[in-house]
Amino acid sequence: MSETHLNIEGLSKSFDNVQALSNIDLKVDRGAFVCLLGPSGCGKTTLLRIIAGFERATAGKLVLDGADITNLAPHKRGFGMVFQSLALFPHMSVAENISYGLKLRKTSRVEQKDRVEELLNVVELPHIADRPVSALSGGQRQRVAIARALAIRPKLFLLDEPLSALDAKLRDNMQIELRRLQQSFGVTTVLVTHDQTEAMMLADELVVLSDGVIQQAAPPSQVYRFPANPFVADFIGSANILPAVSTSQKTLGLLGMNTGISVQQAPGITLQAAVRSEAISLRRVESGGTGTISFARDLGPVTEWLVQAAGHEIRVRGASSAASPTVGDQVELKFDQDRISVFAS
C-alpha cells in the first residue's frame, strides 16, 4: 500500500520570459526513489531546486504529508541535499561536515559523535572522521556528501546529478551503493540525472522531462517498454523513429512492409513508429533484401549495425555470431511485434 509523501500540483516556473517548467503534476510515494531524467535545459534541476526551496515556483503548490510547503523557507524544510559540486565545507573536517546539520539542531555532542560514526560505517568509510575534506578522493567525497545529507534524517533526500563527476567504474559502484543506502534508510528520494542508464538503475519511478513538461512518469521498465511518445522512446534507450502508415487492414505498415500490428487509426493515416534497435533481427539474403548494411561493429556481447532501408538509416543491435551480416550485405528486416510503439504523427 503506497501513500503519497510529496505532491506537486500544477507547478510552473518562468525566468523572465522563459518558461522553465509548465504545469508539473507529480505524486511521489513514501520511500520511493524517483529519478528526474531529461536532456540539459529540460527543467529537471529547476524542479529539484523548487522542491528544495532554493527557487520559488511561479504557480502551483508543493504538499508534503498533507501540509502546504510552497512558501516554507528552505532551511525549515529538513530535506537532505547532495549537490552536483558536492559542496562539502572545505574548512571543516569530515566529522564536522557530517555533524553540521546536527549541531544546528542542538543535538548533544555524544549523539553527534555516534551519528557520525554510524553514517561513516554505512558509507563504508570508517576511521576518516578527523581528516580534512581536501584529503579525500572523489569517491570518498561523494560518500561524505551523502552521509552529511542523511545525517539529519531528512524527510526528503534530494540529489542533483551527484555522480556526474565520477569515472565510469566508480559511478557504477556508487549507483548500486546509493540504491542500497536509500532502501536501508527508507527515505523518499528525488534524483536528477541526464544519464538514462543511471536513472533506470536507481529509480522506482522514472520521470522523463523535456521542455519543462513531464513526458512520462512510470516505472523504468514500463517507460522502456511502453514509451508515451516518440521523444521518450528516443531518449530512453536507442529507438528508431520511423514514419509509418495505417494499412487498409488497419495494421501498421513500416518501410513498405506489413508488420501485422493492428492500429486504431483509420486506413491511410500516417503514423510514427518507435522500434528499439534490439527489436529488429537481420537475415542475410543473396539479393532483393529490404536494406543494405552500411556499418557493422562487434562490441563484444552485441553487434551494432546500421542498415540503409527505404531511404532511412536504421540502428540494429543483436547478438554477435560468425554468421552475422557485414558491411555491404543485403538483409531482410524482421520486427519483434511486441517491441514496436506506435504514435500518431
Binding site: F83, S85, A87, F89, H91, Y100, R148, I152
Partner: protein, 280 residues
C-alpha cells in the same frame, strides 16, 4: 632538448639581463631603507651620508622622546603615535565592516553592477593625493563640524577601501553559492550560513585587508598633512615637522622601527593569502 636562449636552471643567454634587472630593481627599492638604517646609527649631530662614526645615541634619543614629557613642541610624539594607532584601528574596523557585506553583495549580485562598483571604489587610487587632501579639507572646513579624530579617520577610510574591497572580493570568488545552499539545506538560516561558511572561508582575505588598512593608514602623509590640527596629528606629520625643524637622525631611528613593523606585517599578509588573493 632545451633551447639555450631560455632562462633554464643553468641560465641561458638571458641570465645576465635578468640578473642585472633584478639587482637594479632591488637597489632602487631597497636603497632608501638601507640609507635610513645606516644613518640611524650615526654618531653625528646632523644627518649626513655616510656618517663619520657610529653609535646608538639616536635610539636613546627616541627612547627619551617617548618616555620624557616634551614641552618644546605642541604635540608630543607619544600623542601622535597614539592618534596614529587609534586612527588605524578605526580605519581597520570600519573599512572591513563595510567591505565584507559589500563584497558579498557584489559577488552574489549582477556582474555589471559589480564591475561598476569596483570601478567606483577604485577611484581614490587614481586621484592625486594632494587633490584628495584639498577636497577633504574643503569639505571639513565648509561643514564646520567638530570632527576630532574623524577628521583624519574618514579620509583614511576612503583611501583604504579599494584595497580592502579587492581582498574581500577575491576571497569571495572561490566561495560557491552551493556551499551556502548546502548549509541552508542542513538547517542553517541564510545569515547563519554566511556566518558558518562564507566568513570562515573569507578569513584570509579579511585579515589581509585588515593589515593593508593598518599599514596604509599608519603611513599616510599627504592627505593627513592637509587635515591635521594642533590637537589631532599623526606620527608621520610629527616626523616631518621634526625633520624640518632639526635635521637630527632621531626620526631616522624611529623610521627603522616603523619599517621593521611594516616588513613584519607584509610578511604576515604574504603568509596569510599565499595564492588566495591579490594585493593590488
Amino acid at each position: 632538448m632545451r633551447v639555450g636562449l631560455l632562462p633554464t636552471d643553468r641560465g641561458g643567454s638571458y641570465r645576465f639581463v635578468i640578473m642585472l634587472l633584478a639587482i637594479l630593481g632591488i637597489l632602487v627599492s631597497a636603497l632608501p631603507v638601507v640609507v635610513v638604517t645606516i644613518m640611524s646609527f650615526s654618531a653625528a649631530e646632523t644627518s649626513g651620508f655616510p656618517p663619520e662614526s657610529y653609535s646608538l645615541r639616536w635610539y636613546g634619543e627616541v627612547a627619551r622622546l617617548f618616555t620624557n614629557e616634551d614641552s618644546s613642541s605642541a604635540q608630543s610624539v607619544v600623542d601622535s603615535t597614539v592618534t596614529s594607532l587609534v586612527v588605524a584601528l578605526i580605519v581597520m574596523v570600519i573599512s572591513t565592516g563595510v567591505c565584507i557585506p559589500l563584497a558579498y553583495a557584489l559577488a552574489r549580485g549582477e556582474r555589471r553592477v559589480r564591475e561598476g562598483m569596483e570601478l567606483l571604489f577604485t577611484l581614490p587610487l587614481v586621484f592625486p593625493l594632494v587633490m584628495l587632501g584639498i577636497a577633504f579639507l574643503l569639505i571639513a572646513e565648509s561643514l564646520k563640524l567638530e570632527l576630532g579624530i574623524w577628521r583624519i579617520a574618514i579620509p583614511h577610510i576612503a583611501l583604504v577601501l579599494p584595497f580592502v574591497l579587492r581582498n574581500c572580493l577575491s576571497a569571495m570568488n572561490g566561495i560557491s553559492v552551493e556551499l551556502e545552499e548546502a548549509a541552508i539545506s542542513l538547517g542553517a538560516s541564510p545569515m547563519r550560513a554566511i556566518w558558518d561558511v562564507v566568513i570562515p572561508l573569507m578569513k584570509a582575505g579579511i585579515l589581509a585587508g585588515l593589515i593593508f588598512a593598518l599599514i596604509i593608514s599608519f603611513n599616510e602623509f599627504t592627505i593627513t598633512f592637509f587635515m591635521y590640527t594642533i590637537d589631532v596629528s599623526t606620527l608621520p606629520i610629527w616626523m616631518y615637522s621634526r625633520t624640518v625643524s632639526s635635521l637630527d637622525p632621531s626620526t631616522l631611528a624611529l623610521s627603522v622601527f616603523i619599517i621593521a613593523a611594516d616588513v613584519l606585517l607584509i610578511v604576515l599578509v604574504d603568509k596569510l593569502i599565499a595564492g588566495k588573493g591579490n594585493l593590488f
